[in-house]
């Protein structure tokens, strides 16, 4: 793990994540920056944080910013991370809202966004490959992986239903077998 980031680093990094994610793929961008580029977290810690942030109420990415901010600097850290994540996007949302309600059409960016969305899906898929390589070793984890994809992705069951079914089994499977010697 690299050095503890400063408050300013936190704000700047989450700002970078937010702005990179036009077209979507915010989770993939978070991993790209927090794990791969900055080395602030290991893959396992990142993945469990992502799922906890999904279970808890609130926007997943805002929650993740709070989580990472608290990890390094407590409440001030959380505020800086959330501030970085949202300041410029809020300004952009306001500008778009102004244009939309003034002229009743969205600035002609549909095509650009469609292309960018295709790449954002690709970034998300490559994140599946990168993180899956480490944690999908053996039949049991692969079974968990496929089961939740089918339930949540294909069948569109609510997240809470999928997790209350699978998470207890997965945690039981993940429980350390032997007491640390």
């Amino acid at each position: 793990m690299s050095e503890k980031p400063s408050l300013f680093d936190l704000a700047l990094t989450f700002n970078h994540i937010a702005l990179a994610s036009f077209g979507g793929g915010l989770s993939a961008w978070s991993r790209e920056v927090l794990v791969a580029e900055k080395g602030w977290m290991e893959d396992e810690e990142f993945l469990s944080a992502v799922t906890m942030c999904r279970i808890l109420p609130g926007a997943n990415q805002v929650n993740l910013a709070v989580f990472v901010g608290v990890k390094f600097h407590g409440i001030p850290g959380a505020c800086c991370a959330v501030f970085g994540l949202t300041l410029i996007p809020v300004a952009i949302a306001l500008a778009l809202a102004y244009f939309y309600f003034q002229y009743h059409h969205i600035p002609a960016v549909q095509g650009i966004l469609k292309g960018a969305a295709a790449a954002a899906v690709a970034l998300t898929l490559s994140m599946v490959f990168k993180t899956g390589k480490k944690c999908l070793k053996g039949a049991v984890p692969i079974l968990f992986f496929v089961a939740i994809f089918v339930m949540n992705g294909i069948l569109r069951w609510p997240l809470l239903a999928c997790l209350s079914l699978l998470a207890p089994m997965a945690i039981a499977w993940g429980w350390p077998r032997k007491k640390a010697s």
């Binding site: 799922t51 609130g58 608290v70 306001l94 295709a118 899906v121 994809f149 992705g153």
Partner: protein, 175 residues
């Protein structure tokens, strides 16, 4: 009058913040019911357009509340709505993450980290799947996605470069 609207914004979005278990999109139906049906801040069509804008704009997609607050009460409404939507849920995450840091070496934390990893990867694949469905992708977009996936997975290229290039391809009308 304006104070009443601001109070409505504060109460609506701070309660939705706590109710949004599983992410911001889970409370969209309730958000729609209140802002369009009860408060008449905007029309049905406008809500759908605002949703599309907030999905495409950079940053967390929950910033739809910024736009709704703006429509209801201008810039102060926008800022109030944004804070109200993030603060209650954020406090809860703060409490949970404090407990999490304290449990650094506990077996339960190890079990959760190890056990949730394959589930999270599955959920990420699911979100990629849902994203491509929501964007109404046709075969050309799927080809673009496949090519980009191969590049992301095998090279260390800066993703922003590729997202920009794909945006350009979209702008030229090729997908």
């Amino acid at each position: 009058m304006n104070l009443r609207t601001l109070t409505q914004i504060l109460l609506l979005f701070s309660s939705l913040s706590i109710l949004s278990i599983g992410g911001g999109n889970t409370v969209l139906p309730e958000m729609h019911r209140k802002t369009v049906g009860d408060y008449h801040w905007l029309t049905d069509k406008q809500f759908a357009d605002v949703f599309a804008i907030s999905q495409a704009a950079p940053g967390p997609s929950i910033l739809i509340v910024t736009i709704l607050g703006y429509k209801a009460a201008g810039v102060p409404g926008a800022i109030l709505a944004t804070i109200a939507m993030m603060l209650p849920a954020g406090l809860l995450v703060y409490l949970v993450s404090r407990v999490w840091e304290k449990a650094k070496d506990a077996p339960v934390r190890k079990a959760i980290e190890k056990g949730l990893a394959p589930l999270t990867v599955g959920l990420i694949l699911a979100s990629g799947w849902v994203m491509s469905q929501a964007a109404d992708h046709d075969w050309r977009a799927y080809i673009l996605t496949s090519v980009c996936t191969a590049i992301f997975s095998t090279t260390k290229i800066n993703p922003l470069f590729l997202v920009g290039a794909a945006g350009l391809i979209g702008w030229l009308g090729w997908v």
